[in-house]
Symmetry: D2
Subunit: 342 residues, 4 copies
């Protein structure tokens, strides 16, 4: 069986990463590649690293051009997926890398994104609670945001086992590709090299309610999330530092056991050996999440640190992992499990 796959938004960073992974997927034939303002140009002009597809011409992102595929990946600006998605056949697997169908609560949607809630789809994080079941054979999948992916997985065992108070503080340092290829002054190389800054401070990043939604799913109770993203001088990667007050009586052993047990069978989540800490470099271009935990005995807090590649596990790799589940293939098919370092 070969899946015919289309990518809408093929000239952007998420689209490029989808294609990089799909080129190595043994069961995929790459079909239509579409774009917005770049329609009509060659892919090679936008994704020079994808040499085997350099001569493919980008079509317009229309339902017609996306028809006739087994799987359609949408890597479009936020808000653009809903309209396209409802015009695609019900039996096409549609995997949306945008935010349109992530939040389950219509009120949360309206507050954080504005406009009408388009609904919610099975949430593409197989490692979260019982999501894997929901994704199996799903026809519509909402890929998580990059920050929620790493923050959720880094905190899940502690929340699920009730080891920490439900007030978490997440500070996540991200490379610039998370902001996409948008032409904004603060994303210029001259501005980002040699500089670290915080943005959306005070809980105003749209990934905040998504993290809270996930942690509630993990633990059953509402979780308060203080989330601060940092922009750091690298193209790819997120390192999330997650901390919360430990519940009384929780020992370091409890913590380590909870983490080891939670992810023992997960192919893409690795709790590192004691003494080894995650680096974004070690997961560059890989679909892995690496996690390490420590107890701060003085401050009585858990500190858990997780690393991902925002474009791979944080977006395109996660999306392909979900496609595998939705199409009945081994979950790990075609997904990179080693990083590129140094």
């Amino acid at each position: 069986m070969t899946l015919k796959v289309a990518v809408a938004g093929a000239s952007g960073y998420a689209g490029g990463e989808l294609l990089r992974i799909l080129l190595g997927h043994p069961k995929v034939e790459i079909g239509a590649l579409t774009a917005g303002s770049n329609a009509g140009t060659l892919l090679g002009a936008h994704q020079p690293h994808l040499l085997p597809l350099a001569d493919r011409r980008l079509q317009e992102t229309t339902p017609e051009n996306l028809e006739g595929h087994d799987v359609v990946f949408l890597a479009l600006p936020h808000g653009a997926s809903a309209e396209i998605a409802q015009q695609l056949p019900d039996d096409t697997v549609v995997v949306d890398c945008g935010a349109d169908f992530r939040l389950t609560d219509p009120q949360a949607w309206e507050r954080w994104y504005g406009g009408t809630h388009a609904g919610s789809w099975p949430y593409g994080l197989p490692e979260l609670a019982s999501q894997r079941d929901e994704l199996t054979d799903a026809k519509r999948i909402a890929v998580p945001g990059c920050y929620p992916t790493v923050s959720t997985l880094t905190l899940q065992p502690a929340i699920a086992e009730g080891l920490i108070e439900p007030d978490v503080v997440v500070v996540a340092a991200s490379g610039t590709s998370g902001a996409g290829k948008s032409l904004k002054a603060h994303l210029l190389g001259s501005e980002v090299m040699g500089s670290v800054s915080a943005y959306a401070v005070g809980g105003s990043h749209r990934h905040t309610p998504e993290i809270a939604q996930n942690l509630q799913l993990a633990g059953g109770d509402a979780v308060s999330v203080s989330f601060t993203p940092l922009l750091v001088p690298m193209a790819r990667g997120i390192l999330a530092t997650c901390t919360a007050a430990l519940r009384d009586g929780v020992s370091e052993d409890d913590v380590r056991r909870a983490y080891d047990k939670s992810y023992a069978d997960e192919p893409f989540v690795h709790v590192l050996p004691e003494g080894q800490w995650p680096t974004t470099q070690a997961v560059l271009s890989s679909n892995q999440v690496t996690i390490q935990v420590a107890m701060d005995a003085d401050a009585r807090r858990l500190v858990a640190v997780g690393a991902i590649d925002n474009l791979t596990k944080g977006t395109a790799g996660g999306a392909v992992q979900c496609m595998n589940l939705a199409t009945g293939q081994p979950e790990t098919t075609g997904l990179p499990t080693v990083g590129v370092a140094p």
Copy 2:
């Protein structure tokens, strides 16, 4: 009046930054430059950016070579300052950039550094509580660590005014120069470029008790500090993200007023206008601290972000600021107030 100034440890990063600033100080004559294993070599081999001093030969770091100066800066490995310092005349102004005399509590010293507590000196952060008075005309000064400098100043108004609970979480992203010129594999360019990592996680960084000591001085009560440092791909700069639960009834106005008032007269601490956030690039090579605050209404937490150049305000600039106070000069003399950007 011209001050004759010696720098011990002139071949390292802190020593180089001291000399960069002192070369622009109108009241300073640069005297002895000393080093450890680099003694006997020319300064130009180690500090190629200090062209006017390229032909100066490094002497050994001995009390004899440091005699006869009005001011001696010690930029030595931790633990090396105490022995040298006690052999210098009492009326020499000795400014120690190391940790030896920072902690006031002997037990804290023994726990975090080991060995015998050498005592404590006036703490070189003029903007902290009543430290400016203690530094005026002081003959011995302990320059703060880089993380404590930015963390303390970023949290001080909130602690001093009782706006937050005394449990703070600090995640501080630092450039690599904070680790000095030490030849360690994880500091190689190939390892740090394109990578972010956390280290000393769980409260084990030696700057933790120093931050706690400062915040207690600021507010009168013990403060619990959860501190996680990050290594990011740049040479200079620290961005500290500091967060704590807001006390009941505290409004955004209260917060902003406290910060504005605290630092209104400080020449080197700038609370930025609303909507503008600190970047390390904007303070590169300058003695400024920039701070911005936000309230997270959902999480009921204050998030305060501060930026410094770890080598300038975080080490050498702070040291020269203290020298100015100790020698009766205007506090801002010779200190850079603008950054180098982009």
Copy 3:
């Protein structure tokens, strides 16, 4: 005497660097700051590193707003200077950081820039041939391009003394700030970090004829220039590798003597001691040029390497150096002579 100085184009990188230097100049009062589309906004929004000027509001770039100053710096897009300049009083010192008045040959201008040649002004490279005399008391000055500054000074002694054949190959690696704050996809941080590329290959960069013009001035004869610029992952700095066939009988001693002699009295050009090679880091934010030479005995070529900060000596520092000459001040007044490193 205090000079009242205006900067047109104050929100860009060259304008910001001019202001950074002028803030440290003891004889300057900063007057009007003007901009194009940023007129009406505060300088602090564009140049957060210039804290002392953060509250200054940008005016429109008009002759009226630039009137009443002793010196006007133009840091405008290429082609915009000529029109403004002719509307400024003859006794105002006008220093143009753009290309409009650099080329002396109208045909070269038409070929490389198009349109009508606006004329040529004294060329702001005091270290080139007899330019210092022309700049003394000049009322109109054309600041060189960044690549021509470093390439010319790195090759001048060899050309002037006839040590090399007049066919030079220059490969110059530049940081991204040389391209200005323009919003172009290839200048995004995600694109430049971790990447090196060549551009304008095959001699099509507009700085090529300017280098050739300078070298002819240095040596008397036409020089053929093969120039390739590289974009490298850093914000500032240019390292120029310049090579040419050695003339028969030329020894390494001849070469070293020529370089040492040429620049012995230059305050801003340093021929490094044997064995030490230029790095862009060592001249970051300084007005220095560092140069080193080697003979390749097998290939019978001279290889000369020069480093500058493209925004300082390559633009704004060079411009202030010229202002000093034009206004009768010591040439080095207010100019940084040490770099910021690491």
Copy 4:
């Protein structure tokens, strides 16, 4: 058929890259992993990106430990391969990533490396002249240096077709991983970030005679090579700018035709479409070489620019490509053909 493969020097950068590629090779079983001073430790401590091999313990690099494998890769310090190699069975395929067997001329060896010439092995650059034939079924292979790989392939068509004079100038900008994991001060992150420098200037880099040897093989005549390597702030990648005087009568068409024809059937060498220039980012972690050419009509020179990943095509990818040839597999088996970008 599955090949049992050992890697000597598995804790270094070349060793790590070999393992990254071999993990994706469908016909390989990874056998012994050996090291020098790191013997006895776990691979995961040195290569955290190779999660599937994290628990493998490094053995000492001895002939005994390397016995019983079909293929042995040597990724050892220069000079260490010869002794090990001669103790391995004749029918083991030995692929040396070091320099020991690259130069064919004993005198050249003595001059550039010193000591006794160990001999020369089939040279592992299948795209060079008739090397592919020599590598097929070879039992001993000398993998080229990274600079020679990209420089040779970028110049080969012009040399082979007699389009340029045999005096070439190569300036090649390299990431820091080319220098290995050696603990040297100039390789620290603080030193390399924000800095470009030249090294081994004047033709003293040991890759110079290797480039000359290759170009002579390509064209039949001796070629003079002026080679200058640059260190730039990135971990991986080389961009080589190669220029030479054009022979009389050579047109741009001649040049383009020669390049297109030379590499039309090469799976790993891509002459880019006109107007598109190589970037190191586009070949990151891929085995591809991308090349573009331009004629400088004024300077009458060819400028050819080539990009590779120094660790992949420049070392480990090239080595595996040779292993494929030597073991009768399709040359492209297991080799990455797309880059990781951005």
